[in-house]
Amino acid sequence: MKYVNSYQMFIVYSSILILLVVLGLALSFGSYKVTFIDYLYSDMSKVQESVFTKIRFPRVLLSAFVGASLATSGACLQGLFRNPLADPGLIGVSAGAALGATSFIVLGSNFIQGSVTNPYLLPLSSICGSAFVISALFFITRGFGKEGITYLLLAGIAVNAFSGVGIGILTYISDDSELRGLTFWTMGSFGGATISMIGPALLFIIFSFIWIIKEARKLDILQLGESEAYRLGIDIKKLRFSVIVSSAIIVGISVSLSGMIGFVGLVVPHLARILGGVNHSFLLPSSALIGAILMVLADLFARTMIKPAELPVGLITSAIGSPFFLWLIFRIRKS
């Protein structure tokens, strides 16, 4: 933490504390009456215990990790593209994951028997989708050296468009039962999360975090411009590879498990910058923490506001994210 000053350290520690409190709260509230205190101290009924450990706990854990993933990925991409409006959706990774998942939902049962009932195949096809996009992006921008970023953005636009067409076609040819799967998934939700499903995913996410945080300093230097960064000894190609791949992994996994949830990757890094500063050694961990806090809270509201019914969590992140996004644009225009 050599590039992080003491005020920034304070923010990070406070965030960790707040996250723990928020986790405790999220574990204690929901449609069903069982709290964290109950879990620790009282005898719970069989249903209460089931709800707490098998339903609520995996869900809260997943929302925290997805929030952290989307926020960190957003921070990395805003750094890599030197664009404050960059977002995981921008380079087409979310779209690739979406296309992979949609393809599986609509076509999967034709090719693999019994696939509709296997809960692992959907996340897997989603990750294949984002992995395919990553590879495509990598090959498209490979020859371009330092101008690669512009081509990357263009490629991202192309991927988004292609994915939109693909999903449109698949939606068109899907029958009613398949459509059910699609609509649920595009609204974004943490419902149905189980430990066995999210366990391996979380490992991948943690690995990617560790990988990308080591590159934080290089992202700082990249802000001087690609030529300058190169002259300061940064291997731009390697940096681009690290950021893209780790972002793609964490976004691909998040999208496959919880559907499309917008604005977090865009908005949280700016919040973190306002709180403590712009250097990436601070920005990446603090974005992860703040992203986790906000997502856990958003999901808490999603499942308690109209209980016993539930709102799609993407609705809440958009409702808070869009006004913030507008404010952000005004702020950038002023300066």
Partner: protein
Amino acid sequence: MYYRILMLHLFLFVNSLLAEISVLSICNIANNTSDIVVAGGSITEILYFLNEEDRILGIDVTSNFPKQTSELPSIGYVRSLSTEGILSLNPKLILGENDMGPPLVLDQIREVGVDLRIIPEEQTAMGIIDKISCVASIIGIQDKAQEEIKDKLMPKVKYLKTFQDNKIFKRKRVMLILSMQGTSPIVAGSGTSGDGFIKMTGAINVFESFEGWKPVSEEAIIDSDPDYFIIPSRDMHKGSDVKSLTSNPIFKNTKAGSKENFIFEDSMAMLGFGPRTIITALKVAKEMYQQD
């Protein structure tokens, strides 16, 4: 030889038994037949039809009939339910239509140990009767249910059958429009609830050639030249709906459109495939054929 006939009968019997078992086991009586959460409008309708609504703890948003349902707690949309939400009502039995979901939520509920039954649905008049019988069996009131069915529904079902089997007068050709997507109406193809309803009224679906709910072009609509447009609508603002459709150039150019042959009915009453669907199908069939 008698032995062989006996074996054959036995074989056939066992076969049909096995086929029935999958359905039968769903409709087996539940251990606890009150404290029910319902996900699916037609099942709620059925419970009210059988006067068993006191058993209901909570319903989904598609359960909007009769009016009293608005007083019950809502568990949300049938396709995106919440595990905790449902469990917080402490149900002992959950009855759902076959589009209840998402699947992971259903798995979680089963894992906690709550009795969850997806009622099989066949989109025909007898399918509705079977649905009612299934629900009745689950809550243990078959006899009472058979009475109600015999009294109130079977006469209508038989009447409908005469429209369906009719070989005397020309069948009506219809299309069923769900909504407008941009400027293209979404119509019912084969295999949809809309198609099922059309067949119940004894009419022919002009768009039987494709599957599912799909948008169709203006040309296709004019070319298909239906006798009637059947439109499930959420609010019954008949007057304004007819006006907006007749002035719509897509419909103006059809024979049915110029004659204002639009039939509006409540969407759940039409496509829910609960008791009301039988009543509505009969009403629509009569309306179409009595104009001859």
